[in-house]
């Protein structure tokens, strides 16, 4: 997810604001410390115009 965010030139705060969570949540997701709920995972996938599987494949801890 970090790579996709960086490719769009977004900060963690900007992405967080776009999907309605805190910057710390985005940070924790990117570092693999927090597994997002299904609704949040779907929101993130839709935001990046991809699928949940492509977004989080191999990242779930």
């Amino acid at each position: 997810m970090k790579e996709r965010r960086a490719a769009r030139g977004l900060s963690q705060g900007e992405l967080a604001a776009a999907v309605g969570v805190s910057r710390q949540t985005i940070n924790s997701i990117e570092k693999g410390r927090y597994v997002p709920s299904l609704p949040l995972a779907l929101t993130l996938a839709r935001y990046f115009q991809t699928t949940v599987e492509e977004m989080f494949d191999g990242e779930a801890g």
Binding site: G20, V21, S22, R23, Q24, T25, Y34, P39
Partner: protein, 128 residues
């Protein structure tokens, strides 16, 4: 996916109400000065929460900016707090028993904890 939208006044307001309740109880008990200190402490705490919302953690503590991750943290923190309280009550109850004293009030408190836990399990299980 939306954040839980609550007023920033909720937790500070609760602090004020709790402080007022303690102040009233202590005033009724003939300890008005300590009641005033309790009220002042809670008002200061509420004010600190109200004014300390410049970062996400401060706002989450205040109650108006809790996303799913913070709610999960809050839930786990509540469970851990409950466990610590129950273990403390058990320890205090055992201490009283070892001294040949009655279980009051720890027996009643442990009974409340047990009933609350069973009721919560049943309710959450029923709700799915």
């Amino acid at each position: 996916m939306a954040r839980l939208a609550r007023s920033k006044w909720l937790v500070p307001g609760a602090c004020a109400l709790i402080g007022a309740a303690f102040a009233l109880a202590q005033w009724r008990g003939g300890n008005a000065r300590d009641g005033l200190y309790a009220l002042l402490f809670m008002l200061v705490l509420g004010l600190a929460l109200l004014l300390g919302g410049r970062n996400a953690t401060g706002r989450a503590l205040r109650g108006d900016a809790r996303d799913e991750r913070f709610r999960a943290i809050d839930t786990r923190a509540g469970a851990l707090t409950g466990l610590v309280l129950i273990l403390t009550l058990v320890l205090l109850a055992l201490t009283r028993l070892a001294r040949g004293e009655t279980l009051d009030p720890y027996g009643e408190l442990l009974a409340v904890a047990a009933v609350a836990y069973i009721a919560a399990l049943a309710l959450l299980h029923w709700r799915g």
